[in-house]
C-alpha cells in the first residue's frame, strides 16, 4: 500500500480549478451556514406543481408507511404545529431501544399506536401515546448477518396495512405481524446470507402484495425485488435486476423510452460472461406506486464490484429506474440512469410522484434526486427524462443529453485498476444517499436532506468469494467545495433549481417531513433536531437529542386531535459507522472511505438509540 500513500500526494489543482468554476455557477454556495435565504413570502406556492390527483386530499392524521403515501411526498396535512407556535414544541416522552447501531427507521403511527422497528436485531415495539409499551416482538435475527451489512446494520422502517405490520430483518426474512397484538402471522425467508445478502429496506404494500428487495451491492449479490402475498407470505414473483429478460421479468409489454435500453437479454449481454450473477443492482431503497397507472417505481443499486475494470459493458440493469406492474412484476419501462457506473452511485433513491407543468403542459412525473448529483424529472408513464439539473457540485459528468437520455461522462475521471482519480464530486454516497426528501404542495418545493462530499478513488484487484465483500476500490472522502459536508435544500422541481439551502457541518443523513403548518423537520448528525420555515428556510426551533440523528421524522395526530412529531436518534449508518462501529479514522479508507470525512464526528456524538416524541 506504499504506492497508495504516494498517489494521494499528487495535488489536483486543475480539478480544484474546475470545481471553482462549477461552484461559482452553483448558487448553493452563496448562503452562509444556517442563514435564512431571501425569498419573498408572497411567492408561494412557488410553481404549479401538485400532488397527484389520486392522492387523498383529506389528512387522516395517521402515518402508516415511511413515505407517508404511495406518492412518497412525506407531507402531512396537519397544521396544529405551525410556523408561529413551533417554538413552543416540547418533549413529550422518549423511549430507549438499548441498541447502538444507526437508527434509520421511520416510526409508523396508526390507531393511536406508534410502531417502531430497530436496527439489528430488528425488534418491533408497539407504544401507546403516553409512552408505555404495548407489546414487543423479537424476530431472532441471525447474529452472523451483522457481518454481511455493508453500511451498518440498519433498518429503514416497517409498514402498516390492513391491521398488519410488515417489515424485513437483516437476515433476509420478511415478516408480517398482527398490529394489535404483535403476533407473528407469517415469516418467509427470501434471501441467502451465505451469498452476502441482507435486507435493510422498508417494504411497500400494494394490492395485497408486500414488495421487498435485498441489500448487498458491496458483496457481489444479485439484486431482486420480490412480491409476497400479504395473507400467506407466499412468494408470488421475483424480478431480478440482472440476467436474461425472463428473470428480469421483461416481456411483451416492455417499452423503454430510449434505444440504449431496448434489446434482448441486455441484463446478461452487457456483462462479461457470468458476471451478472454477482453484479449487484440490489433494491435496498424506496418504492413508489401510482394506482392510476398501476405502476410500481423503484431504482436499482450499484453494479459490483466498484472497480469498473472488472465489469466492462453497460452492466444492465444496475442504476436503473424500473416501472413494473405489481400484479405479476412485469417491467413496463426502464431507464438506466448511468450505464457502467464508475462511482457507486446507486439509483435507489425515492421517486416523488407529482404532477407539474413541462413546456406549459401538465405532466405526470416522478422526481428523483439521484446520487449522481442530478434531480431527474421523468414522465412516469413513458420513462422519458424531462429535465436533469444538478443540485450539488458535479465534476465527473457534464449533464444529461435530454434527446438521448445519456449521461455525458468526463473521460479523465474514470478510475480503474491501479489508477487513482482525485477529487471526484460527488463522492460515493452521492449528492444524496438514501435519506428521503419531502414535497409540500403548499410551497411547491421539494425538501432534500443531502451531502456535500467529494472523494479520491483508487482501483484494486477485486476477488469474488461468496459471502465476503466484492469492492476492489480504495476510497477516501472529504468535504466538498465550501468545507461543509451537508446541505438541506429546498428545490423547485418545475424550474429545476434551488430556492434556498442551509449548510450543515455534517452530512444531513436524516429524512425530512413537510407539513401544512408550513414547517419542515430534519435532524443532524451533531444531535440537533430542527424545524425550519418551509417558505424561507428560517430556523424556528431546535432540540438537542442524545445521539446524532440518521432517522426519519414523522408527524401524526391522536384521536383527540393533538399533533405529535417523532424521530429516532442514534447515530450510525454508512456516514456514522465511525461512531457506531468504533472505527479508527487514522485509516481513511475505513467504512469504504467515509471515515476519512467524518474524523471529528466522535467529538460531537456517541452511539445509542432513542425515540423522541414531541408535542406542543
Amino acid at each position: 500500500m506504499d504506492s497508495y500513500r504516494d498517489f494521494f500526494l499528487y495535488p489536483g489543482w486543475l480539478l480544484v480549478g474546475f470545481l471553482t468554476v462549477s461552484c461559482s455557477q452553483d448558487s448553493t454556495q452563496s448562503n452562509p451556514a444556517s442563514s435564512p435565504p431571501e425569498v419573498a413570502q408572497a411567492n408561494y406556492p412557488h410553481n404549479n406543481s401538485t400532488s397527484p390527483a389520486w392522492l387523498e386530499a383529506n389528512e387522516d392524521g395517521q402515518w402508516a408507511m415511511p413515505a407517508k403515501n404511495y406518492a412518497s411526498t412525506r407531507y402531512s396535512g396537519l397544521e396544529q404545529i405551525n410556523r408561529d407556535n413551533v417554538k413552543n414544541l416540547k418533549l413529550a416522552w422518549t423511549f430507549s431501544t438499548g441498541l447502538t447501531p444507526g437508527h434509520e427507521a421511520a416510526p409508523v403511527f396508526v390507531n393511536d399506536t406508534l410502531y417502531v422497528v430497530t436496527p439489528y436485531p430488528n425488534t418491533v415495539y408497539a407504544l401507546s401515546l403516553d409512552g408505555s409499551k404495548k407489546w414487543e416482538y423479537k424476530p431472532g435475527t441471525h447474529q452472523e448477518s451483522q457481518g454481511m451489512a455493508c453500511c451498518d446494520v440498519v433498518n429503514r422502517g416497517l409498514v402498516h396495512a390492513d391491521g398488519k405490520l410488515f417489515f424485513n430483518t437483516l437476515d433476509n426474512h420478511a415478516i408480517a405481524l398482527e398490529a394489535a397484538t404483535g403476533k407473528e402471522l407469517w415469516k418467509t425467508k427470501v434471501g441467502d446470507l451465505k451469498r452476502g445478502e441482507t435486507m435493510t429496506m422498508a417494504p411497500l404494500v400494494v394490492k395485497g402484495k408486500m414488495l421487498v428487495g435485498n441489500s448487498g451491492g458491496e458483496m457481489g449479490v444479485r439484486g431482486w425485488l420480490k412480491a409476497l402475498d400479504t395473507e400467506t407470505g407466499e412468494l408470488l414473483w421475483t424480478a431480478y435486476s440482472t440476467g436474461p429478460d425472463k428473470e428480469v421479468l421483461i416481456g411483451e409489454d416492455f417499452r423503454p423510452f430510449y434505444p440504449q435500453d431496448q434489446g434482448k437479454d441486455l441484463g446478461a449481454n452487457s456483462w462479461p460472461p457470468e458476471m451478472w450473477k454477482i453484479g449487484g443492482g440490489t433494491v435496498w431503497g424506496w418504492l413508489s406506486y401510482d394506482p392510476e397507472l398501476d405502476l410500481v417505481y423503484y431504482g436499482t443499486g450499484n453494479p459490483g464490484p466498484w472497480n469498473p475494470d472488472f465489469r466492462p459493458g453497460d452492466n444492465k440493469w444496475t442504476l436503473t429506474v424500473f416501472a413494473r406492474r405489481p400484479d405479476d412484476g412485469s417491467a413496463i419501462w426502464a431507464y438506466q440512469v448511468e450505464p457502467h457506473d464508475l462511482y457507486d452511485y446507486d439509483g435507489v433513491n425515492e421517486s416523488l410522484l407529482l404532477d407539474l407543468p413541462v413546456n406549459g403542459e401538465q405532466r405526470k412525473v416522478l422526481v428523483r434526486p439521484e446520487r449522481n448529483g442530478h434531480v431527474y424529472v421523468m414522465d412516469r408513464a413513458s420513462g422519458e427524462v424531462l429535465s436533469a439539473n444538478t443540485y450539488v457540485p458535479v465534476n465527473v459528468t457534464e449533464g444529461v443529453d435530454l434527446k438521448t437520455g445519456q449521461m455525458r461522462k468526463v473521460k479523465d475521471k474514470q478510475p480503474g485498476t491501479n489508477r487513482t482519480v482525485h477529487n471526484i464530486c460527488p463522492a460515493a454516497p452521492g449528492g444524496k444517499d438514501w435519506q428521503p426528501s419531502a414535497y409540500s404542495p403548499r410551497t411547491g418545493l421539494i425538501y432534500m436532506p443531502h451531502n456535500n462530499l467529494c472523494m479520491d478513488m483508487h482501483g484494486m484487484q477485486a476477488n469474488y468469494i461468496a459471502g465476503t465483500p466484492y469492492v476492489g476500490s480504495d476510497v477516501k472522502m472529504f468535504a466538498g467545495p465550501g468545507g461543509h459536508r451537508g446541505v438541506y435544500t429546498a428545490w423547485d422541481p418545475v424550474a429545476g433549481r434551488k430556492v434556498w439551502s442551509i449548510k450543515e457541518d455534517f452530512p444531513v443523513w436524516s429524512g425530512t417531513v413537510a407539513t401544512a403548518g408550513d414547517i419542515v423537520f430534519y435532524g443532524t448528525m451533531d444531535r440537533w433536531f430542527k424545524a425550519l420555515d418551509a417558505k424561507t428556510g428560517k430556523l424556528l426551533w431546535k432540540y438537542r437529542v442524545g445521539s446524532g440523528i440518521v432517522g426519519q421524522p414523522v408527524t401524526f395526530q391522536d384521536k383527540d386531535g393533538k399533533q405529535y412529531v417523532a424521530i429516532f436518534s442514534g447515530v450510525g449508518g454508512w456516514s456514522g459507522a465511525i461512531v457506531s462501529g468504533g472505527l479508527d479514522a487514522r485509516d481513511g479508507t475505513a467504512a469504504l472511505g467515509f471515515a476519512n470525512a467524518m474524523k471529528d464526528l466522535p467529538q460531537h456524538t456517541d452511539k445509542g438509540g432513542q425515540l423522541y416524541v414531541f408535542s406542543l
Binding site: S270, P272, P273, E274, T417, N418, N463, Y464, I465
Partner: protein, 346 residues
C-alpha cells in the same frame, strides 16, 4: 543482486566448456513446444522486423568487410619500404569529412528511415472491427479475455492464446501488479504491460501453427516461467473454439467428477480460481472453466496431464518456487476426483 551471487555460485568461474553447454541446454529447453525465434517470422509484422534485422546485418557486414579490408591494406602498405607521402590539408580534411561524416550519415539515414518505416507498419492503426484480445499480466501468468467487435467480453482463458490465421488481431495489454512485457517473437516485437495503463499492439499469423510467447520484462522470481503459447488456427476452427470457451463449464458427467467439483468448491481452490457456471467466480488466479482444453499448466511450466496436475496442486512450490499458488492438502481420493473433474472441463 550482488550478495546472493556469492551464496549461490561457486567463487571460481565455471570451465568455459561447461558454461557453454549450460547455455545451450537453457536455450534448448526454452523452446519447449514451438519456435521462439524472431528470425523465423510467422506474420507480416515479425517479418518486417526480421527483414530489417537482416538488412542491417548485411549493411553492417559490408561495412565491417570494407573496414577490415582497408585495415589490411594499411597494414600491408606500412610494411613496404615506400616512404609515406603525407596528405595535403585539403585531402585529409576531405577524407575525414567524407568517411567520418558523409558516409556514416548516409548509412544511418538509411537505417533510421527503414526502422521508422518498420515501426510505422508495426504500430499502424488497426482495422475498425478487428478481433480484440485483452491480455493482463500477473505474477506469473497471463489472463486472456476475448472481446467481440462491439467490445463485449465473451470469453476468458489463461496462458494460451488462440487467433485466426490471416486475420489481424488487436491485443490490449494491461498488468495487475508489476511491469511485464508481452512478446511473441515470431509474430511481433515486444510491448510493455504497465499497471494502470492500457497499451495496444497487434499480431497477424500468416500460417497456422504454434508460436511461443514469453514475458520479457523481469517481473520477479518466476519471470522465466511466465510463458504462453499462441495457436493460429483456421478461422472456422477459431470461431467454434471461441464459442466453446464462451460457454460455462460443463456439468459433471460421472459421480467422481461431481465429487471433484464439491472438492473444488469447498476447498481453498474457490478462493482464487473461477469455474464459470459454479459459485466459484474468484479472479486472482487463472480461470479454470475450460482447463481441460489447455496444453500446459502454470504458464508453460508443466504439461497438462493427470499426473502433473496432481503434483502441481499438492506442491506448486516444487515446480515454481514463489508462485502465489499455495500447497493444498487433499486426501488421495479427493485429489483424484478433483483432477478428474478439472481435466473433464474441456
Amino acid at each position: 543482486m550482488s550478495p546472493p551471487q556469492e551464496k549461490c555460485l561457486p567463487r571460481k568461474s565455471l570451465p568455459p566448456g561447461i558454461a557453454a553447454a549450460g547455455i545451450w541446454l537453457i536455450c534448448a529447453c526454452s523452446s519447449t513446444y514451438a519456435s521462439q525465434s524472431a528470425l523465423q517470422p510467422g506474420g507480416p509484422l515479425a517479418k518486417a522486423i526480421a527483414d530489417l534485422f537482416w538488412g542491417m546485418v548485411a549493411i553492417g557486414g559490408i561495412i565491417l568487410f570494407i573496414v577490415l579490408a582497408m585495415l589490411a591494406v594499411a597494414l600491408l602498405r606500412a610494411r613496404s619500404k615506400a616512404e609515406p607521402k603525407p596528405l595535403t590539408f585539403t585531402q585529409s580534411r576531405n577524407l575525414v569529412f567524407v568517411s567520418g561524416v558523409v558516409i556514416p550519415a548516409l548509412i544511418l539515414t538509411v537505417f533510421v528511415i527503414s526502422s521508422a518505416a518498420v515501426n510505422r507498419e508495426i504500430v499502424a492503426p488497426m482495422p475498425e472491427h478487428a478481433l480484440t484480445i485483452q491480455v493482463t499480466g500477473h505474477q506469473w501468468w497471463w489472463e486472456v479475455d476475448y472481446l467481440d467487435t462491439e467490445g463485449n467480453h465473451v470469453a476468458k482463458t489463461a496462458n494460451e492464446i488462440r487467433i485466426p490465421v490471416g486475420k489481424p488481431v488487436r491485443i490490449a495489454l494491461e498488468a495487475s501488479d508489476v511491469i511485464h512485457s508481452f512478446w511473441i517473437p515470431q509474430l511481433n516485437g515486444k510491448t510493455d504491460m504497465v499497471p494502470g495503463k492500457r497499451n495496444l499492439t497487434w499480431v497477424k499469423a500468416d500460417r497456422p501453427g504454434s508460436y511461443l510467447g514469453q514475458c520479457t520484462e523481469f517481473c520477479g522470481k518466476q519471470h522465466a516461467k511466465m510463458a504462453f503459447t499462441v495457436d493460429a488456427v483456421p478461422e472456422e476452427e477459431f470461431d467454434a473454439w471461441l464459442q466453446r470457451q464462451a460457454q460455462p463449464a460443463r456439468e459433471p458427467a460421472t459421480e467422481n467428477e461431481s465429487k471433484g467439483r464439491q472438492v473444488f468448491l469447498r476447498s481453498s481452490c474457490a478462493m482464487c480460481h473461477a469455474i464459470r457456471g459454479t459459485s466459484a467466480l474468484a479472479s486472482v488466479a487463472p480461470d479454470l472453466t475450460h482447463i481441460g482444453s489447455r496444453k500446459t499448466l502454470a504458464a508453460g511450466t508443466l504439461e497438462n496431464m493427470p499426473g502433473t496436475l496432481s503434483s502441481w496442486i499438492l506442491s506448486p512450490q516444487s515446480f515454481k518456487p514463489g508462485s502465489h499458488m499455495p500447497a493444498t492438502v487433499l486426501a488421495g481420493e479427493d485429489l483424484g476426483n478433483l483432477v478428474e473433474y478439472l481435466l473433464s472441463l474441456e
